[in-house]
Subunit: 145 residues, 3 copies
Amino acid sequence: MLDRIHLLAAVTVLGVLEQAYFFLQVIYARRAFGISPPKISGPPEFERIFRAQVNCSEYFPIFLALLWQAGLFFHQGLAAALGLLYLYARYCYFMGYKASSSERLAPIYFGTGVLWILVAASVLGILHFFLSHYVGLNLLQLLTA
Amino acid sequence: MLDRIHLLAAVTVLGVLEQAYFFLQVIYARRAFGISPPKISGPPEFERIFRAQVNCSEYFPIFLALLWQAGLFFHQGLAAALGLLYLYARYCYFMGYKASSSERLAPIYFGTGVLWILVAASVLGILHFFLSHYVGLNLLQLLTA
Amino acid sequence: MLDRIHLLAAVTVLGVLEQAYFFLQVIYARRAFGISPPKISGPPEFERIFRAQVNCSEYFPIFLALLWQAGLFFHQGLAAALGLLYLYARYCYFMGYKASSSERLAPIYFGTGVLWILVAASVLGILHFFLSHYVGLNLLQLLTA
């Protein structure tokens, strides 16, 4: 069973490490700008780093959900590759947002694009399973027939 | 294996699409009220939409965790049906909160009720597995004996 | 299949119940301090409880991701035991943060330490699977040879 999920598991753990890196950046920023918890407002430089981390955290469960559905129902290798792309986009987003609000835009568009491809792969994979499971229709056989 | 999770996977992807819809609503609200990131405060109309999205994001991993445990250990079809009810409740919650703070209450109570049923199904399912796995006790056989 | 995940499922549901407890604490604090949604700022006593809940929510998907990878690829029992430790650390963190900002520190360090052990277990487990799957190298056999 594990051979169907080991690439997904590896990308998942890598994603966790990235999240840990973002959390550390916020801790460093809190020290640098002297903003102790529970405060979350401060100069724009701090608030950009803080919001970048919050945004990445909000998207993390969504990313994992899509990574695993696409990997289980469509193709594990493709899902894992898209997952790596997404994590790279998130890194660029964080670094861009840290520099300025506008520099977050290009990587967020790219990352969102990757998520939509994962959505498409998930939907196609699940649809294919439904059709072959309930209707006995094999889309792949039809396409190659 | 996939036939034991395909309904859960379908509801999961639907949930992701709902989250995407909520994220878009915040982006539209930011434009409408002229509130650029990283700012998160503004008129109550904006803050309600923003908080609605944050609340839905915070509950999303909890929802997925319960959906999958209830689906794997209790009954996939029932868990998926409850999952659809929850996603509908969340839609009503978001639209209600957008209109006024008080209109979020009825759907949040309903949605939370659905989550508690998923908790109950998960606990019963896991308990049943523990009893049959470790004690050799089959609750279903006892009830129908 | 369920016997390889039932301990992880049990800890997952327990974690959901803990999150529910934290959400309830915020609702009680909102009533006690008269801070109605969508407002999230108020006296430090309220903000500490609110931030404690947000922090626990942000870490919850990360915790689940590590719990399951460590449990699937390393050892289910060990992962579940570490999971229980983490949930206990989070409870101490919440109660400490409620009392004062400084009292959140010891349990957050402890909880983060537990997460890093889960990271290590996940990485080792996945690495071991990769080596035996792709290279045909069995680390455990090498160590005991």
